[in-house]
């Protein structure tokens, strides 16, 4: 069960366990959990609350925080670089994530159970997603899509004159989206496992009934795979929103050219750790949480209409 499904189960459990009772391993349980408990409060919950407080202050690390109420919020409303960074991030997420999922599902469908070379293909397709978030790959991307990089050399062979993909504001973001799609191996592996769980019997029955491959795909594969599509979608969305490394390296930390790769997290980093404008960065961090939470909630709400669970 995924973490997502697990949460739903817990709610039921909590309801059924109301009322006082004795806990069998109360002391041992809390002792084993102690590192986590300390960490949860000290590293997660209290800092989260502190970030919320800082969001209403002006704070530069040197002087103590100064309460400025809604000023950060109104600054966000009028900050055009912030709006731009949201647009860049949303474009990246809403183009890159669906594209990556479609590719990963398509390739997973091609990899039949027990086919020759399966392990080889799976490894080759998975490898990029393991390396994709490294600085090394971002360095490579910068060269490949550079003015005299690999892509333009290949294009020149067929007589097309390329351009500096990374250095042009129109295309810089696209190179990062391509990088995201290139790392489709991780969701693909999850799709593969999901496809293996669909009993062959369904397909046999459908083909006897005369359903073609496309119809089988639409009426068997997709409906039975919806929980996994949903899981991949949620995980990739949350991940893509927080992407940082590639944009930082490819643009040399600036988010350029012309702010075209200024991801939200990169702008947050610039504000918080470049200019030490911690109050504003804190406000931005909470906006990020709110956006991710809202999108996840919307997805869960919509899931009722398209995700089929057997239980």
């Amino acid at each position: 069960m995924s973490a997502v499904a697990e949460l739903g189960k817990l709610r039921k459990q909590a309801k059924s366990q109301k009322g006082k009772r004795r806990y069998k391993d109360n002391l041992a349980g809390h002792l084993f959990l102690l590192p986590w408990t300390v960490g949860f409060f000290a590293i997660t919950l209290i800092p989260m609350t502190a970030t919320l407080y800082l969001a209403f202050t002006n704070y530069n690390l040197l002087q103590s925080p100064e309460w400025i109420g809604m000023d950060n919020l109104s600054r966000m409303v009028s900050d055009s670089r912030l709006h731009n960074s949201l647009e860049v991030t949303f474009t990246y997420v809403f183009v890159g994530v669906p594209l990556q999922l479609v590719v990963s599902l398509a390739v997973a469908m091609l990899l039949d159970r027990g086919m020759r070379g399966l392990a080889f293909y799976r490894s080759v397709f998975y490898l990029p997603s393991m390396l994709g978030s490294s600085v090394a790959i971002a360095v490579l991307w910068r060269q490949i899509f550079g003015h005299s990089g690999l892509i333009n050399q290949l294009l020149a062979m067929v007589g097309i004159e390329g351009r500096g993909w990374v250095s042009s504001p129109d295309t810089a973001l696209s190179t990062l989206i391509i990088l995201h799609v290139w790392t489709f191996g991780a969701p693909m592996v999850i799709f593969l496992a999901g496809l293996r769980q669909i009993p062959d019997m369904y397909y046999e029955a459908a083909s006897i009934d005369g359903a073609g491959k496309i119809k089988q795909f639409a009426t068997i594969t997709i409906p039975l795979l919806t929980p996994i599509i949903f899981f991949n979608l949620i995980m990739q969305l949350i991940g893509a929103f927080q992407n940082f490394t590639q944009a930082y390296i490819v643009s040399g930390g600036s988010g350029g050219p012309a702010d075209s790769t200024l991801f939200y997290t990169l702008y947050l980093y610039q504000q918080g750790f470049g200019r030490f404008d911690m109050g504003y960065a804190a406000a931005m961090a909470w906006l990020l949480v709110i956006i991710i939470a809202a999108l996840t909630a919307i997805n869960f709400f919509l899931a009722k209409y398209w995700v089929h669970y057997d239980d």
Binding site: A3, M115, S134, V139, L150, D209, T245, M278
Partner: protein, 328 residues
């Protein structure tokens, strides 16, 4: 189209049973039974019968597609490896991956391009990675044992909070964390990168291990309990040895994520003395600009080599880990 598979299952099951005695009338009847939508474009007989030749062609096409896709996927990596062995001026002229000369100088110039030789950064990265692995293994397995096997107060809400923390973006805690660690004087040390892991903040691994422990038969620890073993003994002598696959998965993922981690290392490690590999590579771009691509590629290859080795050795665990946490 929108029929849920659940409602189709019984009829489909029936169809399979009938189809075994390959009988046309029965098959047609079953087809009619199972499917009201007559959207079928091809006749059933034509669908089923596929000559071996046709099958072979289909499989060849499929393999061809997959091989082309593999090549496209892997080409940039191969090209980087080859380019790291080419003189600088050739990198921007040679799109092929056939190596005519073997030029090892890039590795030497790259290794010494920064204020410290590259093994200094490799060593720093390894320290952070091994600290993180050790911390995750101990703290997450303890928490997982509690969640999976013990009965204590606040277990359910704690478990729910743990699951939710998996999805929490680091940005919402990083600023106060930074302030906290800088008050401790920990900025520009490895401690801010390792200490949170001692406190089991990588909740993803707790979840992975909980899933795994749930699959271990309870009889084993109950028998030990009857024999008078305490929780520590059950945990150390029964559960831990049995959960080595989950520990291996944790090790591999922690290695991968920490090795690749850029954001928190960028924030906490400020002097070149403490730079890890990702920071060193970033500094490489800044200091030599675009002038030494060969050296940069060479060090990039060096930097992903450990990942590649982990990938070869631990692919089995990687994939298993993704699948157990991803789906049933």
């Amino acid at each position: 189209m929108t029929d849920s598979p659940k409602t189709q299952t019984p009829t489909d099951g029936q169809t399979v049973g009938m189809a075994q005695g390959i009988n046309k009338e029965k098959r047609d009847a079953a087809a009619a039974l199972a499917n009201e939508e007559v959207l079928i474009s091809t006749k059933p007989e034509e669908m089923k019968v596929e000559t071996p030749a046709k099958k072979a062609v289909k499989s060849t096409i499929k393999h061809l597609l997959l091989i082309i896709a593999s090549l496209v996927m892997i080409y940039p990596l191969l090209w980087m490896v080859v380019s790291s062995l080419r003189p600088n001026e050739l990198i921007f002229r040679e799109a092929g991956i056939l190596l005519t000369t073997f030029h090892f100088d890039n590795y030497i110039s790259g290794w010494n391009a920064l204020s410290h030789p590259f093994h200094h950064f490799l060593l720093n990265s390894f320290i952070v990675v091994f600290g993180s692995i050790l911390a995750n293994l101990v703290s997450c397995s303890m928490a997982a044992y509690a969640f999976a096997r013990l009965d204590f107060r606040f277990k359910i809400p704690a478990f729910a909070l743990m699951l939710m923390s998996i999805m929490l973006p680091v940005h919402v805690v990083i600023i106060p964390q930074y302030i906290l660690f800088s008050n401790f004087g920990w900025v520009n040390t490895f401690l801010p990168l390792i200490v949170p892991k001692i406190l089991a903040t990588d909740a993803f691994f707790i979840f992975l291990m909980v899933q795994f422990i749930r699959g271990i038969p309870k009889d084993l620890d109950e028998a030990a309990r009857v024999d008078g073993a305490g929780h520590i003994r059950i945990f150390v002598q029964i559960i831990l040895p049995l959960m080595t696959p989950a520990l291996a998965t944790t090790t591999i993922f922690t290695f991968m994520w920490t090795w690749n981690d850029f954001f928190s290392q960028l924030i906490y490690l400020t002097s070149p003395d403490n730079y890890t590999v990702p920071l060193a590579l970033a500094a490489f771009i800044d200091s030599t600009g675009e002038s030494n691509w060969g050296g940069m590629f060479a060090m990039s290859i060096i930097s992903i080599l450990p990942l590649f080795i982990i990938f070869l050795v631990g692919q089995r665990f990687l994939i298993k880990g993704m699948v157990t946490t991803g789906i049933k």
